[in-house]
């Protein structure tokens, strides 16, 4: 009887340990910006503004701004700010705000492949795009999670804009994505006010509606850009289009 109990205890312990270890293995890892291999070519441009056409959102003349880990995208009567590191999006409407747990499509590829292995090679070729002489670079992103996902990109890097990739062709596992094209690129840091919250959106909780956040209740998650953007009292910036 004692032996049997001991055996059962041992088996139970092993099972619990196995489950715990499996849980740790499956635990989603936070993407790290320090990429394995070569540096992420999109990490080089942390402050800019541009007009995006194409991409996975098939955007048309979408005004975008990047400041650090934040990227703002202007829509007709509202704007979104994607945190490129946390992969969340603040959706700022005139009457409501919320934190959405996904990056905006227009933030691609700046929000993508942070934990991928990166290979880069300049082809030595040059082409002119929109009047800018561009060096062409091939970039390969390879997943490190064992899923064998490979993203291949061809970047047209404008020489007169510190190599900003004004045109990008990409394919995921051999399937072509909609090409991206950036125009009116400015490497001047955008106005910090563009990344500030309107006063009524200071505490954006997950899925909260503006004006409904209880002052005395702690948000379920802190506003993602508390560190990077000071609180603002100004109204939201007027959309650019």
């Amino acid at each position: 009887m004692t032996k049997r109990s001991l055996l059962l205890t041992l088996i139970s312990s092993i099972m619990v340990l196995t489950i715990c270890l499996a849980g740790q293995t499956d635990k989603k890892q936070t993407p790290v910006l320090a990429d394995a291999g070569a540096a992420n070519p999109f990490g080089e441009f942390r402050s800019f503004s541009a007009v995006l056409n194409g991409g996975i959102g098939r955007d048309h003349d979408r005004k975008i701004y990047r400041s650090g880990d934040l990227m703002r995208l202007d829509f007709e009567n509202y704007y979104r700010i994607t945190d490129l590191r946390k992969l969340t999006t603040q959706s700022i409407h005139p009457d409501r705000c919320a934190l959405v747990q996904a990056p905006d499509a227009g933030s691609y590829p700046f929000s993508a492949y942070h934990d991928f292995k990166i290979g880069r090679s300049l082809t030595g070729e040059k082409e002119t795009v929109d009047g800018h002489v561009c060096q062409i670079e091939n970039v390969t992103f390879t997943s490190t999670d064992g899923r064998f996902v490979t993203i291949k990109m061809k970047l047209w890097k404008a020489e007169d804009m510190n190599g900003f990739p004004i045109q990008i062709e990409a394919e995921a596992n051999g399937i072509k994505l909609t090409p991206l094209h950036y125009s009116n690129v400015s490497l001047t840091p955008p106005d910090p006010k563009l990344f500030q919250h309107p006063a009524k959106c200071l505490k954006i909780t997950q899925g909260s509606q503006m004006g409904t956040t209880k002052k005395d209740s702690a948000p379920s998650r802190p506003a993602p850009d508390d560190k990077t953007a000071p609180a603002a009292t100004q109204p939201p910036q007027k959309p650019q289009q």
Partner: protein, 153 residues
């Protein structure tokens, strides 16, 4: 006596489920040319209405696209700002039919009349594509007031 009451209650419940009428939703996506015509129904008693079939009407401002999915609860953190509760979660083949190898998923909240679209373009991520509100429409649906489709934002 108690057992009998229990059986009667069960029979009544099952009858109620089996007699549950389908729910139909017809709406246009505000500011866009397209809309949805959806049917929420039960796969059979005693399962409640959880299946969704229907059309993404004028999904590209011209053609209709077959959609299907489920009603289920989901976190408000992936819904249109301020929306909570269950959604009609339908997948749409539109992008694939235009040669774009990407998933397209609509989350429609029928209580708040809101919608959100997600796109999975690369075998890696799922991106917020578009979001908005909707207005009920007459059937048959006519083209929305917008000049572009919701998937082209």
């Amino acid at each position: 006596m108690k057992k009998m009451l229990l059986v009667i209650s069960l029979v009544l419940c099952l009858s109620a489920f089996s007699a549950a009428k389908d729910t139909f939703y017809n709406f246009t996506l505000d500011g866009f040319c397209d809309g949805m015509s959806l049917r929420l129904y039960t796969p059979g008693a005693p399962v409640p209405k959880i299946l969704v079939g229907g059309l993404h009407v004028l999904g590209d401002c011209v053609n209709n696209f077959n959609v299907g999915g489920f009603k289920h609860g989901i976190s408000p953190t992936v819904q249109y700002p301020g929306s909570t509760g269950a959604v009609l979660d339908v997948s749409d083949p539109l992008l694939g039919l235009f040669g774009i190898d990407a998933s397209l998923q609509f989350l429609i909240n029928t209580n708040f009349h809101t919608w959100t679209i997600y796109e999975g373009p690369d075998g890696v991520g799922n991106y917020l594509l578009n979001e908005g509100t909707y207005s009920n429409a007459a059937k048959p649906m006519t083209k929305g007031v917008g000049t572009k489709a919701s998937v082209t934002r």
